[in-house]
């Protein structure tokens, strides 16, 4: 119909704001400036800004001017008055660019540019053998790679930070220079000199450091800074090495592209922490071209993860979640096939119910009797007891009550005992041999878990008002007990736990289903116990959340509303029945009927609310409700839907 607006156009209709970053993540941009020390000739920047050819190294005038030049290019968009030097550089750049634009492959950059590069190269080839590198916060494989490269250039690597180190290479943000915050003019000079002369550590600094030994835990970079060592970002080292090794400075496209790959991107000079990050990413994660991830700092995976992301990296990952590393994968917090009893969801790891455990105990006892008689059985029960301990630990975290000491769940026992090979596969309780479904006995009624709540999961993914159901499902999830594993959900979890706790301690048995099999029933008098039980026991049926959440508990409110609405003339209801409107007495419930606000999102007011009932009474909402223009289209449809009266009634 022409009138329909795609639901996607309804704000919040499709994506719950709770799903992904509610606030647009602000890009972290450190204000910290990186001081450009003897930057190698810019390459990629030129490549990007101008032409693919770009012989950027050629633009280096000298080491002294590196950073000046960098700054020049970095600022070129807003520098109003270029200095004479800058103008000269620009001129050089233009001169160099034009031939390239003409597109002649192998066009050679001007001789003096090449000269400059060669000069630079010579300088550093000479200097490198005196460098002693220390790699800080560099992944082992990357470190090894660079270590061999610097060694190839004559430098050496120090495995431990010491005074002999001249250069610290790091992947971390480089601390600002503390002593003198270099001005535009001074910094390059000193730095360049530093590089050129391979200064050793300033003794006075050493003394100072010695005096500060007590600080002990001072960061390596800070100390390096204090000791006057060079601190290079890893990408800088990369660029240096690439440029030094670039023998083909007469240049083809190759060189350009190579330098592009190696040198990475763009923006030079000051304020390029973003750049550093880009380059660091590139080095750590491999080179990239127009890397969309460039500006972003990466969160490195440490444990098992699932990561589903756009192949062009244009959008946020569709899914990313990391789980704590575990020794045994069964302990992993992610959903996996569990040995759930038949009828139950195979992905839920459930502690056995009390009944099951009782049964378990009996079975255990019987088996032990048997085992006494049979040697073969003995070995078996031994292997059992091993898993008992393992399992107890497992169960303890989730369970529930001291009333029944958790024992090894029956299903695991069977499986480990009889089907050891199955444990890696989905293993289910009754993995006993059965010929077919002929002999198949139907499953027991699941008594715990989401099934036990007697509710199917509700539809979701549409608007935040279903947070409730999402939260509830969190409860049942096998992963629910792992705070932190799901960033962003923990808040909801807490809210939920609190809610559940309130309910429990309030002494109200919610709904009418008193959770018959709940072993903690007896212990719910004790709030703290109940709490731990509640928050851990996925079996807790939180019955009928909606009625608990507001509908039943409006207490003092409905009157006002009723009066409101009495005054409204009614709509669409045959008139004759209206006069009979009367109010049935609500059975007055004593005060314990607390409000249990139901949060959600109102599509009409376009706002979130904490309490459904309260929201529907707000002026804003009432105004919307009473403004018939909001309903005009719907009303015309409703008109079509009128129920046809029988003739004699008309």
């Amino acid at each position: 119909m022409s009138t329909r607006r795609p639901l996607a156009n309804v704000p919040n209709a499709t994506n719950s704001p709770h799903k992904a970053g509610l606030l647009p993540a602000k890009r972290a941009r450190s204000t910290q400036m990186e001081v450009p020390y003897g930057q190698p000739p810019p390459k990629k920047q030129v490549t990007d800004s101008f032409e693919p050819e770009s012989r950027s190294p050629s633009r280096a005038k000298s080491t002294v001017q590196q950073s000046t030049e960098s700054r020049l290019f970095a600022r070129r968009s807003n520098n109003a008055n270029p200095s004479a030097f800058e103008k000269k550089l620009v001129a050089a750049r233009d001169r160099e660019r034009h031939p390239v634009v003409k597109g002649a492959k192998g066009e050679k950059p001007s001789a003096d540019t090449l000269d400059t590069i060669r000069q630079w190269q010579r300088h550093y080839r000479k200097a490198f053998p005196q460098f002693v590198f220390y790699f800080d916060s560099i992944p082992e494989d990357v470190r090894r790679k660079f270590s061999s490269q610097v060694v190839a250039l004559g430098a050496r690597e120090e495995n431990f930070f010491s005074r002999t180190v001249t250069h610290v290479v790091t992947s971390r943000p480089i601390p600002a220079e503390t002593a003198t915050s270099p001005t535009d003019e001074s910094a390059p000079t000193t730095e360049a000199n530093g590089d050129a002369n391979v200064q050793t550590v300033n003794p006075s600094l050493l003394d100072k450091n010695a005096g500060r030994r007590d600080q002990g835990n001072m960061d390596v970079l800070q100390r390096a800074r204090q000791m006057g060592m060079k601190i290079w970002a890893l990408e800088k080292l990369q660029r240096m090495i690439t440029t030094i090794n670039d023998n083909d400075i007469s240049g083809h496209h190759d060189a350009a592209s190579r330098s592009k790959t190696a040198g990475g991107h763009t923006a030079h000079g000051k304020g390029d922490n973003a750049l550093s990050r880009v380059l660091r990413q590139e080095l750590l994660n491999g080179p990239s071209d127009r890397d969309p991830l460039s500006s972003m700092e990466m969160q490195v995976f440490k444990g098992p993860f699932i990561y589903i992301h756009d192949m062009n990296e244009k959008t946020k990952p569709v899914m990313v979640r990391e789980y704590p590393r575990v020794a045994k994968r069964q302990d992993g917090a992610w959903p996996q096939f569990r040995s759930a009893p038949l009828g139950k969801c195979p992905f839920i790891d459930e502690p056995p119910s009390r009944k099951e455990m009782d049964r378990q105990r009996m079975r255990q006892a019987q088996k032990e009797k048997k085992a006494a008689r049979q040697n073969a059985e003995e070995t078996r029960s031994q292997s059992k007891s091993v898993s008992v301990t393992a399992n107890e630990k497992n169960v303890d975290t989730k369970l529930v009550t001291e009333l029944s000491k958790p024992q090894k769940p029956f299903e695991e026992q069977t499986n480990t005992a009889t089907h050891p090979e199955i444990t890696r596969k989905p293993s289910f309780e009754e993995a006993k041999e059965r010929k077919s479904s002929e002999s198949f006995a139907p499953p027991p009624i699941p008594r715990t878990g989401s099934f036990y709540t007697g509710r199917e999961p509700a539809a979701s993914g549409v608007q935040p008002s279903n947070v409730t159901s999402a939260i509830r499902s969190q409860m049942v999830s096998s992963t629910a007990g792992v705070p932190g594993a799901k960033a962003g959900l923990s808040k909801e979890m807490h809210g939920l736990k609190r809610k559940v706790l309130e309910k429990e301690t309030g002494g109200i048995v919610t709904g009418s289903m008193a959770a018959p099999q709940r072993p903690i029933n007896g212990s719910s008098l004790n709030p703290s116990r109940a709490q731990s039980a509640e928050s851990n026991n996925s079996a807790k049926p939180e019955k009928r959340p909606r009625e608990d959440d507001g509908y039943q508990s409006e207490g003092d409110r409905p009157k006002r509303r009723r009066e409101d609405e009495k005054n409204q003339h009614q709509h669409k209801i045959p008139h004759k029945v209206q006069h009979k409107t009367q109010h049935r007495e609500l059975p007055k419930k004593p005060e314990q009927r607390r409000r249990d606000p139901k949060p959600g999102y109102c599509e009409n007011c376009r706002e979130k609310f904490d309490d459904f009932e309260e929201h529907t009474l707000t002026r804003k909402h009432r105004r919307f409700a009473q403004n018939s223009s909001n309903w005009a289209e719907l009303d015309s449809l409703l008109f079509e839907l009128q129920r046809p009266l029988k003739e004699e009634r008309i």
């Binding site: 990296e313 010929k435 027991p444 993914g461 719907l634």
Partner: protein, 481 residues
């Protein structure tokens, strides 16, 4: 064999042969406790005149509130009980007081209603609806009260789609709807049905066939109208095992195909286009050196991929999880597959996903990384995981069904059903069966009748060899009530 009885909450229970011992059912206890209980004396006597369906107090309050705030509704309908709650609505069973005033062409279920009023086999747990013979046969309808926080557009969408689908077999007809201020109530037929949670455990393959045939028939009509239901799941398909028919309800999330398309998803392109785009993608040109990404952006400022993901966890198709922007009616077919998996695997719910990521992991545990990668790539996504329980190849459906239902071998008809399952739970939506194709499947056209009764007593624990404890257990449970 089986007989239908009226049940208070619109729950029809199937009585099975001998071994099905109603009174001892813990489940019955459970149900009763869930459905019934404490009614004020006044209230009870007032209601008892008409019927004595036991209603939870909070439900009663809820219903009173609707009656109080919706002027006049009380004179058209007498609310009986709450029978369901959706994401955006609550559904009540109500007596249609003015039934005889209207044309009731919609009422193709009169027969079913009739059956409902059959005197139930005496069961002390259940009271009989009404007092037969004393008064006119009450006509029941279902009142769907849409939450006031729903936008008129959403409500209109649902009603309009239902209106469009009128006359479609197995799709719940819309009798009428009316509004008072922000409250909108849709009137639907009351359709006696069984509770899937109980029902599925008794299903033999032949029952599955009836169930699926009816569901697929409904979907065929819906899909012919280019409508996606989006929320196919057992609770939205009210199945009456006696009639071997069901009705599809709740079009609250339904949409017309294409109405949501923002940009074309990669999957909507020709294969060769897709291939070349994938090959020229950023990822293909910059594959992570170690084979797996090292990490993900910390403070991601990129916009999110947006796609309609409405649906129910555990029933969402893979392309929904991948945020495909060109979703088709095939997403409903996946959900049908999930239902079939539930039936064959004897587990409900089969998937228990707290969220989409869990759902993805559960799905991947079945399909394995290789197939998931391919599926993701269809939608322009890179699938990466190193979760140790997710294998590379995954499992075949047959294996999975066997494990899940704890049998060594599948019967012929189970194998046939499993082949249908494979066609429904196909990761690639373009290869997945349509409703029409599914109905042409051998499972329906050449059914193998090598079917065996799944079991007699649904409560009976499956632990053969240790049964002697079961009786005690049940007593235990009853005591705990």
């Amino acid at each position: 064999m089986s007989a239908l009885r009226g049940a208070p909450a619109g729950v029809l229970e199937l009585q099975r042969s001998s071994s099905y011992q109603v009174p001892e059912h813990p489940k019955h206890r459970f149900e009763e406790v869930e459905e019934a209980l404490e009614i004020d004396d006044n209230e009870q006597s007032r209601r008892q005149k008409n019927y004595d369906e036991e209603v939870d107090e909070s439900v009663r309050e809820d219903m009173s509130k609707l009656e109080d705030t919706f002027p006049g509704i009380i004179h058209r309908f007498r609310l009986v009980n709450r029978i369901g709650e959706g994401t955006f609505s609550t559904v009540y069973k109500a007596e249609d007081l003015l039934y005889d005033h209207y044309h009731n062409d919609w009422d193709v279920f009169a027969q079913a209603q009739q059956q409902e009023s059959w005197p139930s086999p005496s069961s002390k747990k259940r009271r009989i609806d009404g007092e037969p013979g004393q008064r006119k046969q009450p006509r029941y309808v279902a009142l769907k009260k849409i939450y006031v926080t729903s936008s008129p557009i959403r409500i209109q969408n649902e009603l309009e789609l239902l209106h469009d689908l009128r006359g479609c077999k197995s799709v719940c007809p819309l009798i009428t709807a009316f509004r008072y201020q922000d409250q909108v109530v849709a009137v639907l037929p009351y359709f006696p049905h069984s509770d899937f949670r109980i029902q599925y455990r008794t299903f033999m393959v032949a029952d599955m066939r009836h169930y699926l045939r009816s569901l697929l028939t409904a979907l065929q009509s819906v899909h012919e109208h280019d409508i996606l239901h989006r929320d196919i799941k057992p609770t939205n398909f009210l199945y009456n095992p006696e009639l071997k028919e069901g009705v599809l309800v709740d079009f609250g999330l339904a949409e017309r195909e294409g109405s949501e398309y923002t940009s074309q998803c990669l999957c909507a392109h020709q294969t060769y286009v897709r291939r070349s785009r994938i090959l020229s993608s950023y990822y293909s040109k910059n594959p992570p050196t170690s084979g797996l990404s090292n990490g993900y952006p910390k403070n991601d400022s990129r916009s999110s991929r947006r796609a309609n993901r409405a649906g129910t966890r555990g029933f969402r198709a893979p392309e929904v999880l991948f945020k495909c922007t060109s979703q088709t009616t095939k997403i409903d077919m996946w959900s049908v597959g999930v239902i079939l998996l539930t039936l064959l695997g004897r587990r409900f719910p089969f998937f228990n996903s707290a969220d989409d990521i869990d759902a993805m992991i559960e799905m991947s545990s079945i399909f394995g990384t290789r197939r998931m990668k391919t599926a993701a790539a269809m939608h322009g996504q890179i699938f990466e995981t190193n979760i140790p329980t997710i294998g590379e190849k995954g499992y075949s459906w047959e294996k999975l069904v066997k494990w899940s239902s704890c049998v060594e071998d599948l019967t012929e008809s189970e194998q046939q059903a499993t082949r249908l399952l494979a066609g429904l739970m196909e990761l690639d939506p373009s290869k997945r069966f349509s409703a029409e194709e599914a109905l042409q499947h051998e499972f329906f056209t050449q059914p193998v009748h090598h079917d065996v009764e799944w079991g007699g007593h649904p409560e009976e624990s499956g632990e053969s060899g240790e049964e002697e404890e079961d009786g005690d257990d049940e007593a235990d449970e009853v005591a705990m009530l």
